[in-house]
Subunit: 350 residues, 2 copies
DNA sequence: CTGTTAGCGCCTTCAG
DNA sequence: CTGAAGGCGCTAACAG
């Protein structure tokens, strides 16, 4: 990665490095026009490319913002990534990407790497976990992040604060009203659905999932309905699919056993899982919403053309990314809102 | 972004910076165990975080790999991004992300930024364009990339070589047999479909689109069929949707005019456009494949649960990203293969 | 307005 | 095996 240096450009233009620096980069005032032109020409003809590493070292800044996601190919994360990218662009920064498959251990590695690169801020998009096996990882992660913050770094988290974080400053959490929105969804579904409810949730301890489950149950209670059965599975399409298969078997068994079975309404805690579940039901010959209703959460754009249209809760994913990445406002938290979107997948009149 | 420096750690451990450096980073030989331990402890208690910028400056390397996509939220790009990310991870590098909305001007900016950061390689995932308005942008981009390569950079391009690139070394193109696969798709569709064919293509000049159109026409010809009409639109879901609306109107008009209308088979040059078109047809009350067949290209994972299942051509997107990012092999090009996947959306027996 | 002088934090010969 | 010295490329006070 060799390239002409500022010094070479300066020499070629017959000026000092300082002067060359001043014209080539945004110094307060540009040197004399003729000199400036000479320098610019020299730079151009030499094919000068400023060394951002050196610049960063000298002015101790990096223009980098780190983004941590579970999987960049997951549409939930890529939507957030788009927002982060947009914010970065506006601030003339670049985004560094890290993928972690959701384990705090990997997140720790990513944070350390970002810190080493002196990223000016770090955005953590994946859900926090309180699972036992993540206990130690969480603690280490919190420690690393606290240190990063104390050194002047800024971290933006989507959803929940990092477990165990204690640095007084630097943290910014984008609060997503998962629980309230899930409750609202449950209430609206409760008003049009007459059968049982089942929730396909992520592993116990995944906060985003837990919140949505809790909210849904609360909404059901508010509507005077009994709580839904909760099935725990992995927080992705595969989990939704697997659970969908099991539920399909149950639905089919019930339909042959009794003549009159109230339809099941399935709430998968995110759209990707819901789509997986829907695919499973269909592969078993069940129709949606005739044989079972199904709803998701997130309102993933890529999935909007899915038919039957998936009832879900719209979240401003791109905005969330933007907020998590943006310059800290006065507050240590931003709040976003979402809306329940009831569509065909939970239609009550087949 | 202040943080303890190596010098501070060294002082605290009572050794020289050189020694501290040797133990904290992978030097050839590690100093005496006791010394090493002392240094490690000092680093730990001070919360030392190596400054990657300084390291990079000193050893002129960055451990960065730049990725340029049109839109990270587009599932095609996010799938490739996953592959790039995976490759980067294996090589202990980090990926820098840039979004360009497809304009060479933005790509130029991104490349310059990557070059400034001394990224060790750059992968360009978006389709090349020969459109007139991109002429100048392409030339500038090629110039910038050539310079980058001459300085020792490596660039991996997906699909087609960069227009106008002339650097002898450093370029690596991942060749995707778009034309052949589209021809194969046309042949297979020609064998089961009896009506007319229409192609929903991207703007004229987008090479990926052009290749697929050309291949499809060739396949049709091979099957002894007349060429398909080509509709040009934007290379995204919106374009597919808009064209779908127009085709729907046409189909409906034809069905009221004549009693017997051969079904139309629509080939959208990528899955996202195909889904948009399908949604448009359905919104107009048309059924797929009863009223019209439709096929796409790419086999986007997130779209696989779509119903009716979309006929398409499977491309190993993640592998493509991996190859584009991977260390250069002996050759200046890698080849990937794909397979036609005929599914329900083009079923011939409704 | 321009040039000189120090570092920024780290690595790497080269001595000891 | 360890320490001292120089340099990576650039910016930022200071002088002139």
């Amino acid at each position: 990665m060799a390239a002409p240096t500022l010094a070479e450009v300066a020499r070629s233009a017959g000026v000092s490095p300082a002067t060359a620096s001043r014209v080539l980069n945004g110094s307060a005032r540009t040197p004399a026009p003729d000199i400036a032109e000479r320098v610019r020409k020299a730079a151009e003809s030499l094919g000068y490319s400023p060394n951002a590493q050196a610049q960063g070292l000298a002015k101790s800044s990096s223009g980098l913002i780190g983004l941590i996601v579970h999987d960049i190919a997951d549409p939930y994360f890529s939507a957030i990534a788009r927002g982060v990218q947009a914010a970065a662009r506006e601030e003339h920064k670049m985004v560094l990407l890290a993928t972690t498959e959701g384990t705090p251990a990997d997140e720790l590695t990513a944070v350390a790497a970002f810190a080493a690169r002196r990223a000016e801020s770090i955005v953590i998009a994946g859900s926090r976990s309180t699972r036992l096996q993540d206990r130690e990882g969480n603690a280490l992660l919190a420690g690393e992040l606290d240190r990063y913050c104390r050194n002047g770094g800024r971290v933006g988290v989507v959803g929940h604060p990092v477990i165990g974080a204690s640095a007084p400053e630097g943290y910014h959490v984008v609060v997503v009203p998962n629980e309230d929105l899930a409750a609202e969804l449950a209430r609206e579904l409760g008003a049009i659905h007459t059968g049982d409810f089942v929730i396909i949730a992520g592993p116990d301890g995944i906060l985003t999932s837990d919140d949505r489950v809790r909210g849904f149950q609360r909404g059901l209670a508010t509507a005077g309905l009994p709580p839904a059965e909760v099935v725990h599975t992995s927080f992705d399409r595969g989990g939704g699919h697997a659970s969908g298969l099991k539920l399909a078997a149950r639905i089919k068994a019930a339909s042959t056993a009794e003549s009159e079975i109230p339809r099941l309404c399935i709430f998968a805690v995110n759209d990707v899982m819901a789509i997986g579940a829907a695919a499973a039901l269909r592969s078993e010959g069940l129709r949606i919403p005739q044989d079972a209703s199904i709803a998701g959460f997130d309102d993933i754009e890529t999935l909007r053309d899915f038919r039957p249209a998936l009832s879900t809760v719209r979240l401003p994913l791109e905005e969330i990314g933007r907020l998590a990445a943006g310059r800290t406002g006065v507050d240590a938290a931003s709040h976003v809102s979402g809306q329940v979107a009831l569509r065909t997948s939970t239609a009550s009149t087949p």
